[in-house]
Amino acid sequence: MIRAAVAALLALLALPLTAQDSMPPAPYAYTQLDDPRLEAQASALMHTLRCIKCQSQSIADSDAPMAGDMRHQVRARILAGESPDQIRRWLIARYGDYVSYEPAVSATTWPLFAVPVLVILLALGILLRRLGKRRAGAGDAA
């Protein structure tokens, strides 16, 4: 009885493994481009693209088959003459901003960029006013 339960438990553990394909990776999933300049471009881009399957990793960091297929797309497109920006836009057109780790100013993200600037201006304003008061006070005392 216990043995059967343990076996069932182990079988459950094995499920995630069987839910993987056995196909070889795409040609450029694990193979660098021959031109070091192009490979550097591809690598920089891959570090700023989110793996759709394993969402807290970049496709450069992930071993998921889908991340490999995405790396293949990046390298193949760089090799075909596309710019990293074009490839990023191609992916954003399919998966939305979420696929990119590089922050961009958009209709929903502009407060992220605007708020720090406003806070710094506010702090400067308060600081100047206080310093001004103190100086005026010092002037009165003298």
Partner: protein, 174 residues
């Protein structure tokens, strides 16, 4: 009045701590929806996934709205949705499959075991078409209208309750 202002930072901190705690209890949406809805299907032409059926190309999506089913023989939820795909086929829906990272023998084995609702199955060994249509996993099902425009995306396996939804979306795409 002045002493009240002193509490503002603490209140702000409590608000954000509370917000963080609340968000931790919320379910996170793990799905990344395609932003290709309303866009034309990208051009593709895939080899047959096994010898039993022809491959799939963009030009196959004409005449009437059809379903594009992204699946794989190694995908477990695909087994769960197989009966629902057959139910859709029984209602006259044409289903074109794309097998992701799959082998002909495995595709044939899966269809022999779980039924074959497809008219065509293309083989996508490097997830090329999957990435081109903004699909983020298997299984996923897209409604493609007669003009080849992507009209609707269903993420995950098709449950019994999803069948009427897909039928309605196919009707809407007419």
């Amino acid at each position: 009045m002045r002493s009240l202002w002193l509490w503002v930072p603490l209140a702000l901190f409590a608000f954000f701590a509370g917000l963080a705690g609340f968000m931790l209890t919320q379910d996170k949406d793990q799905f990344v929806a395609s932003t290709m809805i309303g866009q034309p299907l990208p051009a593709f032409a895939l080899q047959p996934a096994y010898e039993g059926l022809p491959g799939a190309a963009k030009s196959d999506f004409s005449g009437k709205p059809k379903l594009l089913n992204i699946w794989a023989s190694w995908c477990l939820p695909c087994i769960a949705e197989a009966p629902q795909l057959e139910a859709l086929q029984a209602q006259g829906v044409e289903i074109i499959g794309i097998a992701i990272r799959d082998r002909p023998a495995d595709v044939a084995g899966f269809l022999a075991r779980h039924g074959n609702p497809y008219t065509r199955i293309g083989s996508d060994p490097i997830s090329e078409v999957q990435l081109a249509i903004g699909s983020s996993g298997v299984p996923e099902t897209f409604v493609i209208d007669a003009a080849g425009t992507i009209r609707y995306q269903h993420i995950g396996d098709i449950r019994e309750s999803d069948v009427p939804v897909l039928l309605a979306e196919l009707e809407k795409a007419r």
